[in-house]
């Protein structure tokens, strides 16, 4: 007998609205509870960038070691494949366009095939992703995970090809993206990771790749519940105007919901291990009278079969008491601050790149203040490599005259990593 996994859903919000107000914000904390459920079946595809730039010996060799480390971390019976991406895409292992099952023999054979890979050619990531999508779809495994490694920009195809492919593949599998070196484009990989519900990170030193890949494969093996959907019910004439994952990382899901019925919006969240995530929802409502109580949103956590695994409610009450409707919920305030922090970092770095130093100084200063205020020590540390800080609380900073590409890209990449609320900060 297996038991159904269970999710807890906790809502943080100020349910009091001013007379005539029609917008309510809530933080939805969703967590899996440990269960005795069997682990779902899994499939793993590793996409290695084999374009000409990877030829620098340290990079390609490190990528090969990393792919082998990931394969070692896969459970027996996991379906897997390794593909080589250039301006085209080719199977590395197995030879035929299908997945192999992990066992002693296939592990050894895959590593041998990986060793033989040569670099050469351009970069057309949509082709890599399409092949990964086909392989994973044919596997019929419950957890479908991919790792994409690149060292460069997606220069061999128009951007529309990548965007169209991502739109098609949304929900088909999840994909963690890793950039090695500093010649790749943060925005490009972030687009892939966001669409495919994966993480993004920079691996500046090729020798760190193996540990990172192993960790990614291990994470995939820990997934307990595949294909989890958040279903938001809203009243008639109401709508979800924003839904963002805000913890552990920022992912904007607004606009990626589907509507199975008029008052329901479904958002794919991928596979879950024993973990917790937080979402920031904003609902536009038709205001009711003072003293009226309304269910503004009902949240249901569904598995791939539509079974309800957990639920929560966002209530709204209209009042003319300013002390009630004026109060800001601490979690909503905290995660609003985390979103502003990420936006300030990204806007500051963008301005710095185009030489708008005033804007860059202002935005990055604001980021320093927000990071300090929320106790986001990682963000504070990464910001201190880009700016000299005169007064962190007030956000008074000066741009450093020289900044390494690694430091800049690391700050940019990690800007979407949020911190939880620290009690001491409030």
């Amino acid at each position: 007998m297996t038991t159904e996994p269970h999710f807890t859903v906790e809502i943080a919000h100020n349910r009091y609205l001013a007379p005539g107000a029609g917008e309510i914000d809530a933080v939805i904390n969703v967590a899996t509870t440990e269960t005795g459920a069997r682990l779902p079946t899994a499939a793993q595809v590793i996409m290695l960038d084999c374009s000409a730039s990877m030829y620098r010996p340290s990079k390609l060799a490190a990528a090969k070691r990393a792919a082998s480390a990931a394969i070692d971390a896969l459970r027996d019976d996991t379906a897997f494949a390794v593909v080589a991406g250039t301006d085209q895409v080719a199977m590395v292992y197995p030879e035929a366009p299908e997945l192999a099952e992990v066992d002693e023999h296939t592990r050894a054979a895959a590593k041998e095939a990986i060793d033989a890979v040569q670099a050469g050619g351009g970069t057309a990531m949509s082709q890599w992703l399409q092949l990964a999508g086909e392989l994973l779809a044919s596997s019929r495994r419950e957890v479908r995970h991919a790792i994409l490694l690149t060292d460069g920009r997606n220069t061999s195809e128009p951007h529309a090809d990548l965007a169209n492919t991502l739109a098609e593949l949304r929900g088909a599998f999840s994909c963690d993206c890793r950039g090695v070196g500093t010649d790749w484009e943060v925005g490009e990989l972030r687009e892939i990771a966001d669409a495919l519900l994966g993480t993004i990170d920079i691996v500046a030193e090729p020798e760190d790749l193996a540990a990172d890949f192993r960790a990614l494969a291990e994470n995939a093996m820990r997934k307990m519940v595949p294909d989890v959907t958040l279903r938001l019910w809203t009243p008639q004439h109401a709508e979800v105007t924003m839904l963002r994952q805000v913890d552990p990382t920022l992912v904007d899901l607004t606009g990626h919901g589907t509507k199975p019925q008029p008052q329901l919006t479904d958002y794919l969240t991928g596979a879950w291990e024993h973990e917790s995530r937080a979402y920031h929802a904003r609902i536009a409502l038709t205001p009711a009278g003072v003293g009226e109580r309304m269910l503004a949103c009902r949240i249901a956590v569904l598995d791939g079969d539509g079974t309800n695994l957990g639920a929560g409610k966002v209530l709204a009450t209209w009042t003319d008491d300013p002390a009630r409707y004026g109060a800001l919920d601490t979690q909503v305030a905290h995660y609003t601050g985390q979103q502003e922090l990420a936006e300030a970092i990204q806007a500051g770095l963008d301005a710095r790149r185009v030489g708008d130093l005033d804007t860059a100084t202002g935005k990055l200063g604001r980021a320093v203040a927000l990071a300090e205020e929320s106790g986001h020590t990682d963000a504070s540390r990464l910001l201190s490599k880009i700016v000299d800080i005169d007064d962190s609380a007030r956000g008074q900073v000066r741009l450093k005259p020289t900044v390494t590409a690694v430091d800049e890209m690391t700050l940019d990449t990690r800007s979407v990593v949020t911190t939880r609320m620290h009690r001491s900060a409030g």
């Binding site: 009243p235 008639q236 009711a288 269910l295 009450t317 008491d321």
Partner: protein, 335 residues
């Protein structure tokens, strides 16, 4: 038990639908107007045809409409009882989450010709869910004692009712220490006796609209006046935030130090109306002559209590509001 026809006073048997003498239809023993006392425990939500907001028929288990999301009114949100001789209305107001006011009342005397009305109004203290229970059990216990108790005499019985109310509140929980204000009244054809702890009030409203002076115990009363002048209660309007933060010094509950209510008996010199209310009403409408304008302008006792409750809500409804009204002398209204 047998009774009398309310029209001709002929003896009628239990279960008769029509009077054998005059042929009038007898009151249905299950209808509101023939109910002898308000239901113990307070109201239960009547099954509804659909959402109170949009009429959609499907409501979820927590009372939210599955189409418009509106929460259906809870039974305690708006309670109304009409026993003919006495009517009451209690409302959550526009700000509070729960209605922690409660009321109970009943008729003593022969069925069809009751001579005495007993009533209790309580205002649960604090914001816990326990406060509405405290108010309800106190009001029910008091009315039960007033209707069925063994103590002789109106004033001793009112003291016994306060004691029973306190016992009921204390029995609820020794952890949360629930408590409530307490006001009860016995209205006979001759006099009005009220007993109170805390800031719920009783008013005498003169039928001729005249304004009265403050009265003393065991005196006659002519013009409209407040019968429960409590020197410990606040003397402030709820709209004034600063002075509304008051300390209640007398109440019914586990940590109450003084459980002996103040008592006042008055003998009206003309017909009128007795009004029992919580501070949710008098915080907005304090002057007896203001209450009188609502009451004297109403077509019925039921209209009078509704109009007063609605007036408190129109003024802001920051607190629960409860009003019970009894015409003096107690007499069935013309049907």
């Amino acid at each position: 038990m047998n009774g009398q026809c309310p029209s001709c006073a002929e003896q009628v048997a239990e279960g008769d639908m029509f009077c054998e003498a005059c042929g009038r239809r007898l009151p249905d023993p299950h209808s509101a107007t023939s109910m002898r006392r308000t239901p113990v425990g307070g109201p239960v939500l009547a099954p509804q045809q659909g959402c109170a907001g949009c009429e959609y028929p499907m409501i979820d288990d927590d009372g939210f409409c599955l189409r418009c999301g509106r929460q259906q009114p809870l039974a305690r949100d708006r309670m109304t009882y009409d026993l003919g001789l006495v009517c009451g209305a209690s409302d959550r107001g526009l700000v509070r989450d729960h209605n922690a006011d409660a009321m109970a009342f009943g008729l003593a005397g022969l069925p069809g010709r009751p001579r005495t009305v007993v009533a209790a109004v309580c205002d649960g203290v604090g914001s816990t869910a326990m406060s509405d229970k405290a108010a309800q059990v106190a009001a029910d216990a008091a009315v039960g004692e007033l209707l069925e108790g063994a103590v002789n005499g109106v004033r001793p019985r009112l003291l016994a009712a306060a004691s029973k109310a306190a016992d009921a509140v204390v029995a609820l929980s020794d952890v949360e220490k629930p408590s409530t204000t307490f006001l009860s009244a016995v209205i006979t054809a001759r006099e009005i006796t009220v007993a109170w702890l805390g800031d719920s009030r009783a008013y005498w409203i003169a039928g001729d609209g005249s304004r009265g002076e403050q009265v003393t115990d065991r005196s006659s009363v002519t013009g409209s006046t407040c019968l429960t002048i409590d020197h410990t209660a606040r003397n402030a309007l709820l709209t004034d935030e600063a002075s509304a933060a008051h300390t209640l010094t007398r109440w019914v509950g586990a940590d109450s130090t003084d459980l002996r209510p103040q008592v006042m008996t008055v003998t009206p010199t003309q017909p009128g109306m007795v009004v029992l209310c919580t501070d949710g009403l008098w915080g907005y409408l304090k002057e007896p002559e203001t209450l009188a304008t609502y009451i004297l302008g109403s077509r019925s006792t039921a209209d009078a209590v509704s109009s007063l409750v609605d007036a408190a809500k129109a003024h802001g409804g920051r607190d629960n509001v409860t009003v019970v009204a009894v015409p003096f002398p107690p007499a069935l209204e013309r049907q």
